[in-house]
Amino acid sequence: MLGKDDLRILLETPGVSGYEDEIADKISEYFKPYSDDIKRDVLGNVIAKISGQEESSEPRPKIMLAAHMDEIGLMVTKVDEKGFLHVTQIGGIDQRTLPTQEVVVHGREKIKGVIGAKPPHLSSPDERKKSVPMSELLVDIGYDQAKAKELVSVGDLITIDRKMMELKGGRLAGKAMDNRAGVMVILEALKELKKLKFKADVFAVATVQEEVGLRGAVTSTYGLVPEIGIAIDVCHAIMPGVPDASPLGGGPAVGLGPNIHPKVHQLLKKTAGEERIPMSIEALPGGSGTDAWAMQISRGGVATGVISIPLRYMHTAVETLAYSDIEQSGKLLAHFIARVDSAFVEGLSCY
């Protein structure tokens, strides 16, 4: 039985871009009940193959599901004379959310640290008006330089130390919802798929390095050569100042625009209607900002779709979503897969 406790485990397992081993192992375990063909490619993408069930002489459609497993984080650039750590970001972090966060430094061992902040009493009026740039943030680990250097070296990673929190109304908050929630959608889909008949070979991929430029999707899509690629990621939910977004708890947001194959979009929409799955439409005038942007232009082209889970406060340590959106997205994905056959794939090149 999958549920929010599994999401909690996924969230609390570290996996900063480029260093996804721990989360990859965890996700591989979660894929095991659904696939006996799980591998990691050279960049570290976890790829689980789930073969279509119906025997036939027709070529089997190949569908790639991509949810990135990496999270944004910090990296140590220097251990200074006083033992403080200087840092840089991996992925797009709003540095304003960092002062006074508690962190874990992944050095020789896991070390507790806090990101300090200058008290207002000591700040000039000018300083108070400005946010502190990344280059001035210091991580305090409570050691002098000699001891700090024994434990930490340049290039070590830092993650925010945050447990998942349950809010009212089935809503959950935590770090790395972007995009462990997407991984959770794939798991929910694979669970649902066990009850369905489907013809396609499905490649469930937990991709690496999305936050630094969709890099895992570039190479894994090239390697798998799918006909259809669905990216599962988070999108902005409606909140103050963000009106043109998708409602929290309103089901998956299904992408529409030049990054999406029109027939994939139509089939997702049709599936939602037939299965009575609530959904909203996410209009995407340019890039979707998801792995689908990379998948679409792999080799001779891939028919892409995007399923997003509405999320508030993206790229902070309090990302908030509704678990029901994850379940509904998983259901939509599974029933979409069940509707793909070779005729549908052939039609993808007809314009």
């Binding site: 006909e227 009106p243 043109d244 529409l256 625009g257 030049p258 990054n259 999406i260 194959h261 029109p262 439409i281 209009a283 995407l284 005038p285 340019g286 890039g287 679409q296 232009i297 080799r299 001779g300 082209g301 891939v302 028919a303 993808l348 090149s349 007809c350 314009y351």
Partner: protein, 342 residues
Amino acid sequence: MLLKYITEAAGVAGDEYEVRDVIREELKDHDLDIKTDILGNLIVSSKEELEGPKIMIAAHMDEIGMMIMSIDNSGLLKFRPVGGIDPKVLVAKTVVVGKEKLPGVIGSKAIHLQRPEERQVPLPMEALYIDIGAKNKEEAEKYVKVGDFAVFDTKYEEFGDGYAKAKAFDDRIGCAVLLEVLKEKYYIPVYGVFTVSEEIGLRGAGVAAYTVAPDIGIALEGTLAHDVTDMDDHLVSSKLRHGPVLTYIDLSVISDKKLVALAAQTAEANDIPYQYRNVMAGGNDSGKINQSRGGVPTIEIAVPTRYVHSPVSVIHLDDFANTVKLVKALIHSIESGGYEIK
């Protein structure tokens, strides 16, 4: 009236259906192989098996436009640009929305209601909306869906001394050149590719180049020209009535120098005027063709075009004719061994 049909067709990135139809119609009497790929690129080639260097010639079908993001309670449509649009050119223009070509206007607060200082700054995209005349959200939703595209409602028209104005000469003029070029017979494999989604990041060309795997790439464009009063000569980019524009460098590619030299020689041998682009800006499909697989030498040949990325772009018809001539002649130069393939 090819230029009329092809510029008046709607075709924002990802929605190039009408342009494809015009192209198919234009080529229907020519015995050519016409295919589309999974992204919607239209690939045209000879039905014969031909030997020799394989040339891919690309022109993009998509134009800049708008996508409807939401509908507000009073029935006005909020939109975002698809491709690069300067909001300055949007105010008080007419558009058509969606497949049914619903007419609409881009409105803004009247001058009477603006403070003097407001008039000094251009209206940002967020302050603009499309008005289709709907009474309220409910009525607007009968005609328009979130995700629908809108394009400028501009008619093709010839004016002045051999000039023409239309929307989307970038890059329908390139499509028109390519169509004319494809009507001729060649003895080496020539693949004409009408690409999709160039304006949002050269998306179609790379995919098509991977499939076609050419030895040489040519991108056809309607390129920047701003040869107006008071512009320094070295900042105009290119000039109308000075012939096809050869580009050595832009932000996406450095053209193959031997190809540029061959194009210049070919122009001179055939008495076709030509010019070099003198501003390094923008990028185009040749950048993606150049970076495809193990690398492809490419060149960009363009019709100089004023006011690109706006509702009214302007070309001169002589430049169009000369570009067609030059591209055909260049293919024949390559055909007769003018370019050595590595």
